[in-house]
């Protein structure tokens, strides 16, 4: 009995997924012991944020076959919305320090970011993806990719044009003493940012697994004609999926506003990190994306810690390239198949 579990465990560790996760855990523990727990905290906060962006990206890619290049821009929209909602709130708080907004104001801002992202996603579907889909689905992946490239440039520069290129940041969401866990001090903002992302990812997972709509989305991702035959309204599902994906990115931007101010091209980093995650974990795989997000976050944090700031462009890229070379289907297996694949 227990022998069986051990055997299963060793077998799992020897798969690509198991191996990389084991290594990640070991590296995380070793680095934490070596430099201190803040490293782990950073990893977890960044990972939580990244999980939100990356699940949105996998959703777009897995369900709609859109390789989203503009996903970072919805992160930006989220942080921008949160900024403009929270700035008046924080002024109000300054004058009324006992108001209920002290506690709930930040939630309003983050919720606003979520809604803003969803609306932006819906508008993009109506104005950009929908028209393309109705015109032609020839060479869809490449065309929609180029479309998102255009969309990305558009949104970045609209931001610059309308709101200016300066950093729009806040001092913090929640005042108060940092929480201390096992000797590590975690600011309230960080802790709550992580909790928010954990809750949303969990809700999202439950939604995709257990609700009718979530199942419909998965059905569409597997077989669009089949889904149509059983009476799923494709247009509606597509609209919903895009708003959902964009809302996920936006809420991530909103809840991290205290760390990352909003500026036109703020989305580039979350975007390529999310792409790392997607390639690492494979497509349409929500759990994989979550695990991958923490692995990429760890990689980034460790690189910044041990190699130096700025190298986080180089080291993760190099590692992802190695993965692409040796295991093009991603660590958790999927179909990033290539021209010469068996």
């Amino acid at each position: 009995m227990s022998k069986n579990i051990v055997a299963d465990l060793t077998a799992w560790v020897r798969t690509a997924a198991g191996l990389s996760m084991t290594i990640a855990v070991i590296v995380a523990i070793a680095a934490t012991i070596h430099t201190g727990p803040y490293l782990l905290v950073n990893t977890i906060v960044t990972g939580g944020m990244l999980a939100l962006v990356a699940t949105g990206l996998t959703l777009m890619l897995g369900v709609l076959n859109i390789p989203m290049f503009a996903h970072g821009e919805y992160f930006m929209i989220g942080s921008l919305t949160a900024y403009y909602i929270f700035t008046p709130i924080s002024e109000f708080i300054l004058e009324h320090p006992d108001s209920w907004l002290v506690t709930f104001g930040p939630f309003i801002a983050i919720l606003g970011a979520l809604i803003g992202g969803a609306i932006a996603g819906a508008i993009s579907e109506k104005l950009v993806f929908g028209p393309l889909r109705r015109r032609s689905t020839d060479n869809w992946v490449m065309n929609s990719f180029l479309l998102t490239v255009g969309l990305s440039v558009l949104l970045v520069n609209l931001h610059q044009l309308i709101f200016g290129a300066d950093f729009k940041g806040i001092v913090g969401y929640w005042q108060g003493m940092p929480i201390s866990i096992a000797g590590a001090y975690i600011s309230l903002d960080r802790a709550l940012a992580f909790i928010i992302s954990a809750v949303i990812v969990a809700l999202f997972y439950l939604f995709m697994t257990y609700t009718r709509t979530g199942m419909a989305i998965r059905a569409v991702s597997q077989d669009i004609t089949g889904a149509e035959i059983v009476g799923i309204d494709i247009e509606k599902i597509v609209l919903l999926t895009i708003s959902l994906a964009c809302a996920l990115a936006a809420v991530s931007g909103g809840s991290l506003l205290f760390m990352i101010p909003s500026y036109p091209s703020v989305g580039l980093e979350p975007l390529y990190m999310a792409w790392f995650v997607v390639i690492l974990s494979g497509l349409g795989n929500i759990l994989g994306a979550v695990v991958g997000a923490f692995m990429v976050a760890l990689l980034k944090v460790i690189t910044v810690e041990y190699v130096g700031a700025g190298w986080d462009f180089v080291v993760p890229s190099a590692l992802i390239m190695l993965i692409l070379i040796f295991k093009p289907s991603g660590i958790f297996g999927s179909d990033v198949r290539g021209v010469l694949d068996k």
């Binding site: 390789p67 950009v128 028209p131 393309l132 015109r135 032609s136 060479n139 992946v141 490449m142 065309n143 990719f145 180029l146 479309l147 490239v149 255009g150 969309l151 990305s152 440039v153 558009l154 970045v156 520069n157 609209l158 931001h159 610059q160 044009l161 290129a165 036109p264 091209s265 580039l268 390529y272 792409w275 790392f276 390639i279 130096g308 700025g310 190298w311 986080d312 462009f313 180089v314 890229s317 190099a318 992802i320 390239m321 692409l324 070379i325 093009p328 990033v336 198949r337 290539g338 021209v339 010469l340 694949d341």
Partner: protein, 344 residues
């Protein structure tokens, strides 16, 4: 594949034109570009500077289209590849005292090697993931250029000697026009040869291509290497024209600029991007400099054009030209637009 030109009834002019891959209108356009800097207002130095940038984008978009249009892979790190060439060239001039002209070619070689590597390792990936791989490559190369301060001076940039020791932009303008044309000519020769057929075959149907005896590895890697070599030489030009080289030139947004022009021009045509680049980039520069209180407006227009083209006219300008303009009733006009039509 272009019509083969073994026609005996073609006169010498037509035959030469055909060898040079030009139609009469193409020749006229080239001549126009060559006399443009003598026509006011284009003879002003700042306008020439813009035109040189147009030429750079034009040539880059031709090289980009060789990969994007013929084997259907978007090289999303294309400017980073060009930057590699630029940095190689600049460093060779600064540290080894090489002439910028030779260094430019060396830049081409270094980019070709980079292209060879990217081409080899992206072989196993489907279109979009190959694009991602080249993108990550580009990010990594840019990161290196930023971080290897001891070599590249990082974001401060390298001061590079210019190709011509003059303040004037004239010689640079003619050089870039020649480079645009040469890039086009070399690419066109390649795609006109049986290689072009192989490129199209593997892009359109890999299985049928392979069972027809085409080795996709060779052709894909060759294509990638060639297109990157072109970018490298052009990157060298860029470095030795502006006189300053910063990692910024490798940024993804710069690649997007090339990509937009190539696609608005029409994928798979080679000439489309080159033709569109001049008016389009020029207009964008005018917008940028006259409406400088509205920063980003030029890029908004840019993006809108790209989006509209991708949705409503994915064939781009060259498709429009081929379907609506190319075949007029008038015979003289038709000759002007197409040249002597060789009989197959």
């Amino acid at each position: 594949m272009e019509p083969t030109t073994n026609d005996l009834n073609m006169n010498l002019f037509d035959r030469v034109l055909d060898r040079l891959c030009l139609t009469p209108i193409g020749l006229a356009g080239l001549i126009l570009l060559l006399i443009l800097p003598f026509i006011p207002p284009f003879n002003q130095e700042y306008m020439l500077r813009w035109l040189i940038y147009c030429g750079f984008v034009a040539a880059m978009s031709v090289g980009f289209d060789l990969t994007a249009g013929y084997i259907n892979i978007v090289n999303f790190g294309y400017m980073a590849v060009a930057g590699t060439g630029g940095y190689t060239s600049a460093l060779l001039v600064i540290n080894a005292g090489l002439s910028p002209w030779i260094a430019m070619l060396a830049g081409g070689v270094s980019s070709a090697i980079l292209g060879l590597i990217i081409g080899m390792i992206s072989l196993r990936l489907r279109g979009i993931f190959a694009a991602c791989l080249s993108w990550f490559f580009g990010l990594a190369v840019m990161g290196l250029a930023i971080k290897m301060v001891w070599l590249t001076r990082g974001p401060l940039g390298l001061r590079t000697p210019r190709l011509f020791e003059t303040e004037s932009n004239f010689p640079f303008y003619f050089l870039i026009i020649i480079l645009v044309y040469l890039t086009y000519l070399v690419c066109k020769w390649v795609v006109r040869s049986k290689m072009g057929l192989a490129f199209q075959a593997i892009a359109q149907n890999m299985e049928a291509a392979r069972t027809s005896g085409i080795d996709p590895v060779f052709y894909r890697v060759f294509n990638f290497t060639m297109s990157c070599a072109i970018a490298g030489v052009l990157g060298g030009f860029y470095a030795h024209f502006y006189g300053i080289l910063t990692p910024d030139m490798m940024h993804t947004s710069k690649t997007v600029e090339i990509l937009a022009v190539a696609y608005i021009g029409g994928r798979g045509s080679l000439w489309g991007g080159a033709v569109v680049a001049f008016p389009f980039i020029f207009l964008m520069e005018i917008v940028r400099s006259t409406l400088s209180h509205l920063p980003g407006l030029n890029l908004v227009i840019y993006a809108l054009v790209l989006i509209l083209v991708m949705i409503y006219y994915p064939g781009g300008f060259s498709y429009f030209y081929d379907t609506h303009i190319r075949q007029p009733k008038n015979r003289a006009l038709r000759y002007f637009l197409n040249g002597r039509e060789a009989k197959v």
